[in-house]
């Protein structure tokens, strides 16, 4: 280099380029360790449990013996000796069963045709195939069990807890939140009271509800007797037991919906509502056309979180009925727990994987086909 030649220009350029590169990649640099940690701690258990789900494991002195059985554990649940336990008892379809099954099939066929006539993408098609497949399977499952007079298994019971329980909790939670968002007397007190059940451990809720519902020697036994229900045994009737568990679960989880929806309702700009009131809109019109669209994304999210959580219900049926009468109140998680307790780890893992599949397909379908569609609309 000759004297007097400027030297700074190239080095400044390199520093700038480095600086630019860091600016562009810093987000990834910071996020990758977290991503790797999450992958390690979620992928490893997933792979390990998948291996378990395809194995028979027997504990021996100082070690354990693993025998690889491929899909036998899943086959046992879906088609083998555990089918009645997981799916239900199939003893032929009744008239109502046929009607429901065909109605579900026609509905899904119509949805499929409608979709295929529009803009089809590879990812969208694959996702919908999973959704349609699961919906069709569940439709015929309930057609062959519930609507044909035969008991359904832990899958049906779990779906009952999810859809009936979450539906009930959402409606009541939203209604309470709406009431508490209005300028009524004592609403601060109500907010605190409605929030308390969420703080209680589910096992405590289970024992409390079991005790309260005991018609023979529970604290409300005299009340039951007085009401002429002394001979009524909720735990001996499949549907009464299921509903009692939903009531206990709802008592605990309505506050969650309530708190989140109250925050959403209170964040709706007052001037929109006041403008509508000035224009003469009714309360129902204000709720339907102004409040509800504003809180819809939050409502969909809170419902999604609640549904994911509800798929894992285990404490209440375990404490209140131990899965009984028969297997009427046994959820899939409880099913897996019972298998695990008897050291049938392969079956336990298989049930857990089936639960994961149903949960993922249901929640992703709900998010893509309901939430995103409404948000985009």
């Amino acid at each position: 280099m000759r004297p007097g030649t400027p030297r700074a220009a190239p080095s400044i350029g390199a520093r700038e380029r480095l600086s630019d590169w860091i600016d562009r990649h810093s987000a990834q640099v910071f996020i990758w360790p977290a991503v790797i940690m999450i992958l390690v701690f979620s992928i490893f258990p997933l792979v390990a449990s998948l291996i378990m789900a395809m194995s028979r494991i027997r504990f021996r002195g100082g070690t354990y013996k693993v025998r690889f059985v491929w899909f036998q554990n899943f086959e046992k649940q879906l088609f083998g000796s555990e089918q009645f336990h997981f799916l239900g008892t199939f003893n032929g379809l009744g008239l109502l069963g046929w009607a429901i099954g065909l109605a579900v099939t026609l509905l899904i066929a119509w949805l499929a045709i409608r979709y295929l006539r529009g803009r089809v993408t590879a990812v969208g098609l694959v996702g919908r195939l999973f959704t349609w497949g699961l919906s069709l399977g569940l439709g015929w499952l309930f057609a062959a069990t519930l609507f044909s007079g035969h008991p359904f298994g832990t899958l049906g019971t779990t779906l009952f807890y999810v859809f009936v329980g979450c539906g009930l909790q959402f409606v009541i939670g939203l209604a309470l939140a709406f009431l508490c968002s209005l300028p009524i007397r004592g609403r601060t007190f109500f907010r605190v009271v409605f929030f308390i059940p969420l703080m209680i451990t589910p096992i405590g809720v289970g024992y409390a509800f079991r005790m309260m519902a005991d018609t023979t020697k529970g604290p409300f036994s005299p009340v039951w007797q007085w009401a002429g229900l002394g001979d009524f045994a909720w735990a001996a009737d499949a549907w009464a037991a299921r509903f009692f568990i939903v009531i206990g679960d709802s008592w605990q989880w309505i506050p969650f919906i309530f708190v989140v929806m109250l925050a959403a309702l209170e964040s709706v700009p007052r001037d929109y509502v006041e403008a509508a009131q000035v224009d003469g809109a009714t309360s129902w019109e204000i709720f339907k056309d102004i409040t509800w669209p504003q809180v819809l994304p939050v409502a969909a999210t809170v419902l999604l979180i609640r549904v994911i959580e509800a798929f894992k219900i285990v404490d209440l049926p375990n404490i209140m009925t131990a899965g009984g009468p028969g297997i009427a109140t046994e959820s899939m998680t409880l099913h897996a727990l019972f298998a695990w307790r008897s050291l049938d780890l392969g079956q336990s893992a298989a049930v857990a994987y089936l639960l994961l599949f149903v949960t993922v397909v249901t929640c992703v379908s709900f998010f893509n086909l309901v939430v995103l569609r409404r948000v985009r609309a």
Binding site: F59, G61, T216, K217, T321, G324, L343
Partner: protein
Amino acid sequence: MTKSTIGLGIVSALALAAPASAQDYSGVTVEILTRPGPVIAQRLVERGEEFTAMTGAEIRVNEVPFAELFQKILTDWATGTNSIDVGVFASGWATELVDAGLVEPLDGYIANDDKIDIDDIAPYFREYNQKIGGETYLITVDGDFQMLYYRRDILDEMGLEPPRTWDEYMTVAGAMHGKDLNGDGEADFGSCIFKKRNAQSYFAMGSIAAGFVQTKGTGEGIFFHNDTMKPKVDNEAWQEAFRVYKATGEFGPPDELNHDIGDTRGLVQSGRCGLAIDWGDIGPLSIDPSGAAIKDKMGAVIMPGSPMALNVDTGKLEQCNATLCPHAIDGINYAPFAAFGGWAGAINKNSDAEVKQAAYDFLSYVNQAAQSNVDVTIGWTGYNPYRNSQLENTENWIKAGFSPEFAENYLGAIKDSLNHPNMASDLKIPGAQQYTGVVLDRELARFLAGEITAEQATKNIEEAWEEITEDFGRESQMTIYNLSLGITN
């Protein structure tokens, strides 16, 4: 029993008793795992404090829910974690642990123990409960049989006799059902038998089934065919037992399907049950302050039998005769069921030698007559008699608060069961929990809930048991099953 009597008993026991060896175990800690207290666990804690005072060994009693107890012990010992030195659990579970080579054999320890007086332990518990394949692996702390309890005062008043068969049970239960049995002005129940799923219902089922199924003596067994290891369940005997069990619910509390043993005992103690099936606990619980409503009002007899029994060749129920039911009395086949077998302690083979010796000495201390003869008379301990000295001598029982008449009656019922040549043994093979605690329990629950018929239930059980047997290996299961029944080739 008054507190002062208990205290006196403990003090005198301390004075008389001693650990198996007079070693100094200072610095040694024995970790014990068992079910949550006070039943079983609390007395271990108290005896542990005494043992610590005598030897310096620290006895730590850890508790997990009953349903997780076996799994915790097996995984701890099998995976080499070895955080537990002693498991106190159902004697029947030990077979799987012994089969996996995880339990310390105890014959050597017993040979050097001049305090345990092993011959005083009743033969069934000494030879069947404590031994597996002829070798001792367990030390009994509780002897378990199910018996039939009845309200003696009510039966006397109504001019009825304690039932001998299940038909008679229904008649007596029906006669008492709806009457006020405890004077509180409310209608009470003719029969109380726990029926909750995932609890103890399958033990009661075994007690009912045994009289229909087993006729040829203890060596026959009620669960499998000895020569093929095929389940002996899908037959008229088990189906009839299922129906009997369900029918008793007609005279029970409305929510009996959700009652476990604790719920049933609560009702019995409050005087609301005319008849009940239970282990030996009701006797001592009836003299507990919480059992004031039934003090000196209870009676106990051997479990009801059946005039019809299983023909194993045809799978049909047939009228008992000298060939079919050689042990029948007045044409009734009794087969008292050693449900659960009793709580017993097993020592981890991989614990340190000094810890194992201290663990054995502690189990021996709890088992010795000086301690156990007091413990079995206290209701809340959950310990039931298993020594001849406990069964032959009513003195301790009377001291504890039994009336002489009830002490004779109660011990007589246990001895009738224990000494019966057709006593039925509980299942003691690898996978016993899966066979009974999962499959039998679940199918029984479905039957009781009306989901399936008795025929479907027994068919399902047979299929599921075959799968488990194949999984564990038929030949080895058959060998262990026969050994557990005292059959050796």
